[in-house]
């Protein structure tokens, strides 16, 4: 019975060729970014804006129905303060800030999900995944970088991104006074005065990233210590810490979603939203883990990972693509069905407004239809080739998902996906991969003393 395989130490070498490729990617990203920015500054956008405005008014004329009235009313409610008071920054600045904020929020997920995946494996006493844990561990090194970026970005872009940062919304004498936003101001400004420094908001950001990072280094320290000692004690200790992390994450991920994404549409609210953002982050993270594992397999690493493990990873991407769709549909259907203007405005802006409606439908195709059909069969989940096809689709799909969560709220009808947005994505992606692969190369690729490793080696499904 005791048939035990010996696992040799395996070290991932971050080859200069790979690094060069990523630098090329970064270079392409920077070029697109600069070109996009120049185009945005010199005119491209103004033209666009007019065009969209024209389309918009056409639409309004064409369907002079109750819906159009709803739309107008909702827009009036949403935008009156801005029109009443101040003029925002130039369009290109808005566009630049929006894409920076949106990309960073999206990539936060690709970091934190690494830790979340590890914590789930420990807490649920999973055996099959013991051989791949170093991949999510490397992904989680992005957490502190994302945190620092987010803090800096808030101070640079916050006033443009977050409507609630405008002080006159809270001034009863100002024509821009907004009783609704004034009512919820405490959520951002507690401990300070409304419209001043958002103490509570920043405090949460610091506590969340600080907490996530602390949990990450604690769990990682034990994972690495286990490499030098044959003992179960680190596994037991990490099970406990992972449980605490999961509690912390359950609360912090929802609140983070309200803070960093939902509050951009300051008037709008949805109780599902925290779980919606989580579902999007989670499936993107799973796709990234699978993609990196597939890449490592291709490069000849991770010999202990076979089609059985790939099958499980494929099942995860498949199942949680459906889960995301379930959450998406739950939120959409209930708002659509009840048709309360305060809530429906969110989907009108995204589904019926020209620069975003194609993304609205694309989102469902990339994140539901394609992974659902492509990963449906058992064989598809067991092949590197299908996994390498589907996981990038899911990652890009959820980038569009985040794009449509953030952009319409800031840019109204003047947003779009151009060189600037694609360039920013490539910059984030290449830097993210450089960080993650560098970290992956630092430690042994296999957690050779993990008490579940033998289960993972003899995993047949």
């Amino acid at each position: 019975m005791a048939h035990h395989s010996i696992v040799a130490d395996e070290l991932y070498i971050f080859r200069p060729e790979t690094r060069t490729k990523l630098f090329y990617l970064l270079g392409v990203g920077i070029v697109l970014f600069v070109v996009g920015l120049i185009m945005a500054i010199y005119g491209g956008d103004g033209h666009h804006a007019e065009e969209h405005a024209a389309v918009k008014s056409e639409q309004l004329v064409a369907n002079a129905t109750a819906n159009a009235v709803d739309q107008e009313e909702a827009h009036a409610a949403e935008g009156h303060a801005e029109e009443g008071g101040h003029h925002g920054p130039a369009l290109w600045v808005k566009r630049l800030y929006t894409t920076l904020w949106m990309n960073n929020t999206f990539f936060v997920g690709l970091g934190i999900i690494g830790l979340f995946f590890i914590a789930i494996q420990y807490a649920a006493q999973a055996g099959w995944s013991a051989g791949i844990l170093r991949v999510p561990m490397a992904m989680a090194t992005w957490i502190p970088i994302a945190g620092i970026l987010m803090l800096i970005l808030y101070f640079v872009t916050g006033h443009t991104i977050f409507h609630w940062t405008h002080a006159d919304l809270y001034d009863a004498d100002s024509p821009a006074f907004d009783p609704i936003i004034n009512g919820k101001g405490t959520y951002f400004y507690w401990l300070g005065s409304k419209g001043g420094f958002p103490t509570f908001f920043i405090l949460r950001m610091v506590v969340f990233f600080g907490g996530w990072y602390w949990f990450f280094i604690t769990i990682r320290r034990r994972m690495l210590a286990e490499d030098n000692e044959i003992t179960n004690q680190y596994w037991y200790a990490n099970r406990v810490t992972s449980t605490w992390f999961l509690i912390f994450f359950a609360v912090s991920s929802s609140i983070a979603a309200w803070d960093w994404v939902m509050s951009i549409d300051t008037h709008w609210f949805s109780t599902m939203f925290g779980w919606y953002v989580f579902a999007s982050w989670w499936v993107t993270g799973l796709a990234m883990i699978t993609l990196i594992v597939a890449y490592l397999k291709d490069a000849g690493y991770l010999k202990i990972v076979d089609s059985n493990h790939l099958h499980d990873l494929g099942k995860f991407v498949f199942a949680f693509s459906i889960f995301w769709t379930y959450i998406w549909f739950g939120q959409f259907l209930l708002i659509y069905y009840a048709n309360i203007p305060e809530e429906t405005v969110y989907f009108i802006e995204r589904m019926r407004t020209s620069p975003y409606s194609w993304i609205f439908y694309l989102n469902l195709i990339l994140n539901f239809v394609l992974p659902f059909l492509l990963l449906m069969t058992r064989d598809a989940k067991r092949q590197l080739s299908t996994l390498k096809l589907v996981t990038p689709i899911v990652i890009v799909g959820h980038w569009f998902d985040f794009f449509n969560m953030v952009t319409p709220a800031v840019m109204q009808e003047q947003g779009g996906v151009g060189f600037l947005e694609i360039g920013t994505l490539l910059i984030f992606l290449s830097v993210y991969l450089l960080v993650v692969l560098t970290s992956l190369a630092k430690y042994p690729l296999i957690q050779k003393n993990h008490p579940m490793l033998q289960e993972s080696l003899h995993h047949h499904i």
């Binding site: 179960n232 509690i247 359950a250 109780t271 599902m272 459906i322 305060e342 003393n449």
Partner: protein, 471 residues
């Protein structure tokens, strides 16, 4: 070859062999009913009879005998309906989702949990039927049949109609899944009856097992069907309570219209389902002496599921409360203010205590390993989950948009009687099941008895590179 890590706890204790499994579990099917079984059956039948009287009276007199009024048009009936449907989630979750997650501990508990699921869904179904008052009308209201009233069709826009499809599908698949799992076990009882010379029993159980042969091909087909049914059941577990939640959430009633309802109802359903499984299994394991199959470790794992789902429900409560303030929508805010502070505050705080605070006690290992504490808390949780539905339904309705129609709801003896009817039915059915059917899936447990029982200790989980022993 399957390897089991040394850090895993054994799932079957007492050094059982394959033969022991057949014996321990078939024993109570073969023997005469015990005295305690007769007593329990007698009590259940009395409750059922009283409930049946109340139900007949209701059908004779009409729904007016309930405590409903023109403001509170839904109260105990739908509370009980949702409560029972929720309880009916654990069985399929255990047999389908835990199967997909390869959780082998499900094998000792899935049979009883599935039986419970089926009975609970039947109990749930009685409420919408009774609420129709004239049962035969249900035929026109829920089935898309052409009828003599011209263009009057079933209302496909109504989530209540979606419920009919969701629950009937769920019921059918659960029933097939449960019965299919029983077939090899019926054959085991038949084979034992032949050996023991009990002819009548052999004939009955042979018929129940459809003449199961136990050949390799038969088993192979059996396993394929089990996997397909598990795949089908998984979305069903989610869809049923999702659609039940939409009965409320598609409306524009403050406190009902909230987007978190679908996943939060599903979590709550699993929460209450596991609590009911625990209540029933703790009794079953002690009466039938099944402590080696349903171990303290099984109980601990079920308690962990209760913590997880209870905490998800808790987060959902707090999210709703927070967003009702954050939205700054006056009606939404008042609905929740009224829940927390209004005349039904006692119900709200009972719900909070039972559902959110009490399961947190399971963080303490001593409590989640204690049979008495688990038994008490499993009942507390189900009381809490009843209050949850009552709070959602009645507090949102009793103070509606027109203050002049604000009122309270008072249940009559017929509200209570109908609820008792379902209890009588549920326990009668469960007792019959426990006596005549094998309460543990023998075939599945036999498949793990080697790998996870205490006897094979030491043969598993050796260190990867020899040398240091694990400590």
């Amino acid at each position: 070859m399957q390897v089991t890590s040394s850090v895993r706890e054994p799932l079957i204790t007492g050094g059982k062999t394959v033969k022991d499994v057949s014996h321990d579990i078939s024993r109570q099917v073969e023997g005469a009913p015990t005295k305690s079984w007769w007593i329990a059956m007698a009590i259940s039948l009395v409750v059922l009879a009283y409930g049946f009287y109340c139900l007949c009276y209701l059908l004779w007199e009409g729904v007016g005998v309930w405590g409903l009024n023109k403001t509170v048009g839904w109260a105990w009936d739908i509370t009980n309906f949702v409560w029972w449907v929720g309880i009916g989630h654990a069985g399929t979750l255990i047999s389908a989702i835990l199967l997909l997650f390869r959780q082998r501990w499900r094998m000792s508990i899935n049979r009883a949990a599935e039986a419970m699921t089926i009975f609970a869904v039947i109990c749930a179904a009685t409420f919408p039927f009774a609420h129709m008052g004239r049962l035969w009308l249900g035929f026109y209201w829920v089935f898309p049949l052409p009828n003599t009233w011209g263009s009057l069709w079933a209302n496909f826009n109504s989530p209540l109609l979606w419920d009919v499809f969701a629950i009937s599908t769920y019921f059918t698949v659960s029933l097939v899944f449960w019965y299919m799992g029983l077939i090899p076990d019926f054959a085991t009882i038949r084979d034992r009856a032949i050996v023991q010379g009990a002819k009548a029993r052999a004939v009955v159980y042979n018929a129940l097992s459809f003449g199961w042969s136990g050949g390799a091909r038969t088993w192979s087909r059996y396993e394929s069907v089990a996997l397909i049914l598990a795949g089908l059941s998984t979305p069903l577990v989610l869809s049923v309570h999702t659609i039940v939640s939409m009965d409320f959430a598609t409306s524009v009633i403050p406190g009902w219209h909230t987007t978190i309802f679908p996943p939060y109802f599903v979590a709550g359903a699993i929460f209450s389902g596991f609590a009911m499984v625990l209540t029933l299994l703790l009794i079953t394991r002690s009466v039938f002496k099944l402590e080696d199959y349903i171990t303290i470790y099984h109980i601990e794992l079920m308690n962990i599921i209760i913590i997880v789902t209870g905490s998800i429900v808790g987060i959902a409560y707090i999210t709703e409360l927070f967003i009702s303030w954050y939205s700054q929508v006056e009606y939404e805010g008042y609905a929740f203010y009224n829940r927390v502070q209004g005349p039904y505050a006692w119900a709200y705080w009972s719900m909070m205590t039972c559902n959110v605070i009490s399961p947190q006690l399971f963080w303490i290992k001593k409590i989640r390993m204690s049979i008495v504490a688990t038994f008490v808390l499993s009942i507390v949780v189900n009381i809490g989950m009843w209050f949850e539905r009552f709070v959602i339904i009645v507090t949102s309705l009793h103070r509606d948009y027109i203050p002049s129609s604000w009122t309270m709801f008072h249940p009559t003896m017929y509200d209570i009687g109908e609820y008792l009817f379902t209890f009588g039915f549920f326990f009668t059915a469960f007792l019959l099941f426990a006596k005549f059917f094998p309460v543990i899936n023998m075939a599945e447990v036999k498949s793990i008895v080697k790998a996870t029982s205490e006897r094979t200790e030491g043969a598993v989980g050796q260190p990867v590179e020899g040398g240091l022993p694990r400590h």
